[in-house]
Assembly symmetry: C2
Homo-oligomer: 159 residues x 2
Amino acid sequence: MDDIDKLGLSTAIAKARKSYQEGGIPIGAALVYHGSSTDPKDAVVLGCAHNSRIQKSSATLHGEIAALEDAGRLKAQVYRGSTMYTTLSPCLMCTGAILLYKIPRVVIGENESWVGGEELLKSQGVEVIVVDNAECKTLMKKFIVEKPEEWNEDIGEIQ
Amino acid sequence: MDDIDKLGLSTAIAKARKSYQEGGIPIGAALVYHGSSTDPKDAVVLGCAHNSRIQKSSATLHGEIAALEDAGRLKAQVYRGSTMYTTLSPCLMCTGAILLYKIPRVVIGENESWVGGEELLKSQGVEVIVVDNAECKTLMKKFIVEKPEEWNEDIGEIQ
Ligand SMILES: [Ca+2]
Ligand SMILES: [Ca+2]
Ligand SMILES: [Zn+2]
Ligand SMILES: [Zn+2]
């Protein structure tokens, strides 16, 4: 994790925390453009958001999709100089979105609560970094215990 | 194609046609629940929509994502008794959404203009049917010639 990564992940965590406080699923994400720089002064948070299944009754606004949506329309080149930060291992939908836009790098807060499409990302040449962040884990573990039905709905699992 | 498939695909095509008339990307989709029935009287169009990149300045509302969003929050079982209809071969994001929700069947209007994640769907046991529909092809070919920049943006391609 360089200083841009600290900025990106803390932005994603702040969104996850806000979602939890609203009664929503505590997963946040941020899309950060940095090009070839490692200086946080050159970083631009293009979009950041949280899962909105509960808040917006949405089936598709996972953290990463919501961050891409928040970033709006971008040319292909912009995605290719960006990193996606997400507090939890991305599901297959969000994995596919990262692959669609050829985002070359994904920083994941944790994958202890749940593992998504990390292997598919790596198989397509995406750099995947798992941070094992304590707050990401605490938020998810609390939510899964408190609202198991909503969590299973979010990952398409029958219970 | 059974009668439910005709209903589903014609719903998706009607959305694609509407999007083209609005100046948008002419890709439509419909999520149809049918359970184990093949009688159109038992079919329920849960959601239907078109690509809204241009209309809503959206980076994520592809036809299939927009149809899932239109359908709203559903339990896992509902997706597993449904078919996704889409006028064009689904990109990796939409492929991933189909896999997330374990939608067992996808009917595709055409894959001559562009091919997405069909092989990934099949490798995960999803039934994929390509119809080679003339109107789907005509709409896409016209759009790609008229607005190549918007089309490349939608599939994450540099031009
Ligand atoms: Ca914003
Ligand atoms: Ca509707
Ligand atoms: Zn996701
Ligand atoms: Zn798509």
